[in-house]
């Protein structure tokens, strides 16, 4: 046995001891109620969106429902597996299995490191590039002291040559934030691999997850990786300084967004109109045309008859002129003070 093989054997024995000390006799099973509830909620929203003709929202909800059903399916499959009579103990890795996994890891990955004192085993992937965005190599570091603990406590994904998203430095991969992976479709298989001590499978699944981009649910999408451009001024916008226009859904920066005084909504320059009365930008829903001159004004700048102030004044003037006495018709019946020397009739 070579020196490296002896080292692998010692590691295998240590990990095996840990793995088999964690056997539980828990026979209580939880049903996938939360996953089912999530499906119901999304389905309800989807029905509502479809009925109201909100096609974009319906498309998004349809995608969300598909993911929720996938999650439900995985949880049902896991429950079914747990309920089968054969014991899990049969499938827990033996010392030989773990040893073979450690040897095979060197064939699958460029760099494998074991730190006995820190209780960690790690592999490093090749440099990963997704949709033309360089993300660099990732170290997948497993803490094998508690293999049953589950994500995110017993393994981390560390960017070796980080190229984080411009909008969020803690996101080093579309599915990695703060060194934690959002496992998505890989969740059940990662958990199973760890529970059974299948180290090679665990690292292969996580590595393949890092090599895959799910555009439907990233922390930061690859199209926005180098920052989102403000649709109005073209500057790069960070996550905490970005605003989305409620009408056209483009991104605008804090300098360029408009807060409609009528409805309090957020809009870009393109989707607002300046009110000729108060000189403030309003969304199209809060703008109206003067019933007389067709000038565009906000609701607050129109009178009860939806006339602008100019038309309002002009109409009053016209009414006054049409009244032969020179008095406004509205005031015709108003009581006047008696005529005296040096006095004229003045409406009350």
């Amino acid at each position: 046995m070579t020196r490296q093989q002896r080292l692998f054997m010692r590691m295998a024995i240590t990990i095996h001891e840990r793995l088999h000390s964690e056997i539980t006799n828990d026979k209580c099973f939880s049903l996938p109620a939360a996953a089912w509830q999530q499906c119901e909620t999304i389905n309800r929203k989807l029905r509502k969106a479809s009925q109201r003709g909100w096609n974009l929202a319906a498309d998004r909800l349809n995608h969300d429902l598909r993911l929720a059903v996938e999650r439900l399916r995985n949880e049902v499959a896991e429950l079914d597996h747990k309920l089968r009579p054969s014991g899990d103990e049969d499938r827990k890795a033996s010392v030989g299995d773990i040893f073979a996994d450690l040897v095979a890891l060197h064939d699958e990955f460029e760099d494998v490191a074991f730190h006995r004192r820190e209780h960690t085993l790690s592999v490093t992937t090749e440099a990963i590039e997704l949709d033309g965005v360089y993300l660099g190599p990732f170290e997948i570091r497993l803490d094998w002291t508690d293999l049953l603990e589950g994500h995110p406590y017993n393994y981390r994904v560390i960017a070796v040559d980080p190229n984080p998203a411009a909008a969020n430095e803690s996101v080093t991969h579309p599915h990695v934030q703060d060194e934690g992976v959002c496992e998505g479709d890989g969740h059940q298989s990662i958990r199973k691999a760890l529970e059974q001590g299948r180290l090679l499978d665990f690292f292969m699944i996580v590595a393949n997850l890092l090599r895959t981009y799910n555009s439907g649910s990233p922390f930061v999408s690859l199209s926005d990786w180098h920052g989102v451009e403000c649709a109005d001024c073209g500057s790069t916008v960070c996550d905490d300084q970005r605003w989305t226009c409620e009408k056209c859904e483009t991104t605008v920066c804090g300098e360029c967004y408009y807060n409609c005084p009528g409805c309090d909504g957020i809009f870009c320059n393109e989707c607002t109109t300046r009110c000729e009365g108060c000189d403030e930008n309003h969304c199209s829903g809060c703008m109206k045309q003067c019933s007389r001159c067709d000038a565009e004004l906000c609701q607050g700048c129109l009178d009860d008859n939806e006339r602008c102030s100019d038309c309002h004044d002009q109409e009053l003037e016209e009414e006054t002129e049409s009244d032969g006495s020179g008095h406004r018709r509205d005031d015709a019946d108003a009581p006047i003070q008696p005529n005296r020397v040096g006095q004229v009739a003045v409406p009350a």
Partner: protein, 74 residues
């Protein structure tokens, strides 16, 4: 004969299954996964890459791992 099949697609289950003598890797893949393309999976026999026509033997350990696994921001 009995072999260990580890399906890392979905649930990630490991099961001992009975297969007929002379069963190849490709035949087992079709039985376990179905009509999906084998190129979408990393298939290992006893932790080593293998040709599709490799004949399985008693006690073999076959793992099937999808090359594309979608993470999700849950």
């Amino acid at each position: 004969m009995k072999i260990l099949v580890i399906n890392n697609d979905g649930g990630g289950f490991a099961d001992y299954v009975d297969v007929a003598d002379g069963t190849t890797v490709a035949q087992l893949f079709e039985r376990q996964i179905g009509a999906t393309k084998p190129s979408h999976y990393l298939i290992r026999v006893n932790r080593q890459p293998c040709p599709a026509d490799q004949v399985l033997r008693e006690g073999d350990r076959i793992s099937i791992t999808p090359t594309k696994i979608e993470g999700a921001n849950s």
